[in-house]
Symmetry: D2
Amino acid sequence: MINIGIIGAGRIGRVHGESISKFVPNAKVKAIADPFLNDNTIAWANALGITETYTDYKKILADKDIQAVLICASTDMHSPLSIEAIQAGKHVFCEKPIDHDVNKIKEVLDVVNASGLKYQVGFNRRFDHNFRAIKEAVASGKIGKQQIIKVTSRDPEAPPIEYVKVSGGIFLDMTIHDFDMVRYLSGSEVTEVFAVGSVTVDPAIGEAGDIDTAVITLKLANGATAVIDNCRKAVYGYDQRAEVFGTKGAIAISNDSNSNAVFSGEEGVVAEKPMYFFLERYMMAYAHEVKSFVDAIENDTETEVNANDGLQPVLIGLAAKKSVQEGRPVTIKEIADEYNL
Amino acid sequence: MINIGIIGAGRIGRVHGESISKFVPNAKVKAIADPFLNDNTIAWANALGITETYTDYKKILADKDIQAVLICASTDMHSPLSIEAIQAGKHVFCEKPIDHDVNKIKEVLDVVNASGLKYQVGFNRRFDHNFRAIKEAVASGKIGKQQIIKVTSRDPEAPPIEYVKVSGGIFLDMTIHDFDMVRYLSGSEVTEVFAVGSVTVDPAIGEAGDIDTAVITLKLANGATAVIDNCRKAVYGYDQRAEVFGTKGAIAISNDSNSNAVFSGEEGVVAEKPMYFFLERYMMAYAHEVKSFVDAIENDTETEVNANDGLQPVLIGLAAKKSVQEGRPVTIKEIADEYNL
Amino acid sequence: MINIGIIGAGRIGRVHGESISKFVPNAKVKAIADPFLNDNTIAWANALGITETYTDYKKILADKDIQAVLICASTDMHSPLSIEAIQAGKHVFCEKPIDHDVNKIKEVLDVVNASGLKYQVGFNRRFDHNFRAIKEAVASGKIGKQQIIKVTSRDPEAPPIEYVKVSGGIFLDMTIHDFDMVRYLSGSEVTEVFAVGSVTVDPAIGEAGDIDTAVITLKLANGATAVIDNCRKAVYGYDQRAEVFGTKGAIAISNDSNSNAVFSGEEGVVAEKPMYFFLERYMMAYAHEVKSFVDAIENDTETEVNANDGLQPVLIGLAAKKSVQEGRPVTIKEIADEYNL
Amino acid sequence: MINIGIIGAGRIGRVHGESISKFVPNAKVKAIADPFLNDNTIAWANALGITETYTDYKKILADKDIQAVLICASTDMHSPLSIEAIQAGKHVFCEKPIDHDVNKIKEVLDVVNASGLKYQVGFNRRFDHNFRAIKEAVASGKIGKQQIIKVTSRDPEAPPIEYVKVSGGIFLDMTIHDFDMVRYLSGSEVTEVFAVGSVTVDPAIGEAGDIDTAVITLKLANGATAVIDNCRKAVYGYDQRAEVFGTKGAIAISNDSNSNAVFSGEEGVVAEKPMYFFLERYMMAYAHEVKSFVDAIENDTETEVNANDGLQPVLIGLAAKKSVQEGRPVTIKEIADEYNL
């Protein structure tokens, strides 16, 4: 049984707290820390049987009975907290992205690699039943040699403009999941990126220096080509699909809905919209990823999404950003060289 | 090249005239006869290259160059015209049903059997690509031993009440196609029928002594059980589905639509309704059935839907009618015995 | 917070124990009793935080801190335990069926009705997301006046022959869920039953006096007709579908799979089989039904599946059994009259 | 009634000959010419009622009773024959592409524009029921403002390597249809192209200087981004899908199959593969496009795919080719400027 401390009791911290209590039998949330701790949070924690609630995360790091921490704080705190937790001897599960700054990620990697401790990044979609079904088919050789990989990823609503301004841009905030998905499904590395961006959802996003719609083409080391299409808003809900096409066939996934009921009426044959957003669609994926992290600690195996898996999508995201800015394909090597990687 | 005469230039006569000209290269419509022949019909015929148009069908029967006739007249004329055409030495394709009166069908059978001429009944659905895909899977042994057969058959609109009154009732008018489909898909005979009928569409149908909604359970000689559900009106269009379930699996067909476009919007994920009615859904089936008939003549093989195939569904329909009237299961033998079959 | 005692630690008792701990935040399993209690069961209970484990269920009934019991014992114990638990002042959740003997169910009803305590029967499928989507559409008036209801229910494997012999027959063991589903979806009562049964899966089932395949037609008080098709074995897995057709449209559900991945290869376009069996397909439904029961206690509202809902499907099952035996439709009134209901 | 002469009696010439005789009632194929005319071709023509068969196409151009010609000769003859036919006063339907050489297309445009005669290019997919359903939804405003357009186009088999060598390359031979489809669906012009190409099917294609797999990103004048993915070989057949995503929703089409039968067995739930190749998938589209051409002549309206529609996809194809060669995005203006367009 692994004792866990959660740093950050916002939306994602609570998702993890709840899913651990329901679905991760070999782990227990011993403590939770949040600088804005209030009665509501304490009540929520107590209802889950979490009796230790702190404003100061250092109490978690100081607790000898806690083996692992989940870093669910704001993005700018991910890398310093990762380093501090590793240095305190804790295994770390860190929400994505590790950081927007590659140099800070490098520091985390250095500390992690020297530590012998487990480090996992929160790319939850890897643990979704649908994406995993593709991954398994690809890894088993069922589709043959990969040729084309397609990922569609559209949100039901654009985030608030204040969030957009500090998000690091669509590629580091939203597409980063899709960059990870391409790496995960293919089992290969991205070598070159060409991205086209546009503002089709909300002019305010453009005024904030970002884009809200993108099509990104990726060359992979294994010879396949991947293409991602993104939009910050789809009126029909959260659209998360993927397809891998290879020499023996293609495997594709579609969206999940709350039910598969189909109504045939005068207007047509109507199925439900996709599940609204990531908390619904990936509820079980959140549980599975922490279960996987806890199992890696218990069994002393490599985590399924390690620190380098946290770094690579950031490099791809920076390449995509540069590609849009300069209107040309950008290699990952070019970005890596900037950071002496 | 087979020369064909069409008797009856109503809707179905025209369907056959057009589909022969487009899709049956080894046949030519040489003449068409209709007692209500008018300028419109003559213009239609001429446009198809049919220059011989008569009010008197006997001119078709007298034409030595015509080898086959299609009987597309009103139902009460099907059996006398069948007999007269056979006696004139013509191969006969007769629209369903041969007759509502079993004794008259018996007379047709006797004349056909003595003649050595081809006789085919217009159960067009047997020639539909979807139903045929089921049939082929069943006949190939792919589904194993048959256990349950399901047929859904619902019309987009109830016919005019005047038609209902002379239709012979839902079982002989509408379900007769489904009784044929059960025999076709299973390759087995029906032995017993239990039918439940209700009036849920239009009280006027009930006042006319008929029902508009029915569920019919059929025991088959091969040990399988079939169930048909019917309704005279489905607001979403023509609903024609079937499933055969057996020891090795199940095979099912759904409806065809004009396109497979799916729209995802705020209201849901919307596909098109089924094709509106039988002329659209079974357009190619009408062509294939006449092609099959012409091929049977040319190759001197058995027709795919022979005179007995015209008789059996009528017996099943009469059993269903009696079942509703008497509230009990009725065997086909009981009906057959009434007619000394 | 409701304290629950579970009587019976077999498969279904464990399902409830686990789902309560994960998904029913306002309930706690305080104790579990099983006459065959062993170390394995104790370990399982302890892992869930259930520290009180007994061989004698009377200890649960005697515990003043337990407000509700779940009866998960063998079928023959359902009715006596129900009565004893009610008499001990406990709210009761009883697995289906209450009993095979209508007289014993009547006794339970009398005791329940006199008690003012909550009683719920374990028709878990009512709490499945797909069936519930149909129910809500029907109840909202979206499909208009009901005309035809169809339920397909096929198991992936026939049960052991020893189980078949004591099961009460297919109608009381398996179809009882479908009878309940027809009542649930329609919100109406069944008035007459006609059932056709056959042995197509395993001759040993026939030798045991049972059937393994059935098609059952049901007349409903609201004027609709329902039809259920059952088989003890479908090679492709657990097949649970339903459709309600009415004057404004039809709503249908299909099976759930572990993923929606579709593989297109040389052999065809292949989707996954349905989830294997009821524990997978209805995992969340088991949680929702107990949650609903606990909520009914907390809020002092009627349970969603009351004792009469436990009685009616048994009457329908007995009618179906008689219908097969006597080859005729049987009214529910005829069965009810036998028992002075 | 329009009299048509077909120049070229190869595969596509025959497709048009047959579909006109079946589906274009207001046209008649009066003559066909092919330099390699043989008995087989003559027999085929006669069976369709085409009695005039020539080796010299000039006889068609000289026939005063022929108002329109279909140019189905080899690609290098498309532009000279177009010019000669226009100069002979014939309306022209020309198979795609008009030419690989932009200068030659320009000559055709000049001649066509000066003539007042109808000119249509054979982009048959525009007349497919599925693509047309998307087009109509987009044009009606149903999807709102366009944001992302996706076209998947994969062939079941790579063509013979000898064909590849003279094909003009994948972009002018295969993707040209998809470039046209983007223009058709969007109703907008392409402004910039970025293409990634690879050889994943057959190294011989690479040795011939071509690629067999491509992902092409297109910027459109209306602000949308389009992405096409191509492969010369998909083992599951001819894969032709599209999706347009906009501010009010997305509309997508999938493949057509010979039947919609679905088999559920031990291996999974198996649907049919897509129709094998373009002759099956687009059979009716070939008929509809010629019908549209004939209607344009009869009604003196603009053809649905005019000469400029033949030019634009070639420019896009050349931009794509250059993009792969130079590893950068290429504007259509850059290509147009090369040709003083």
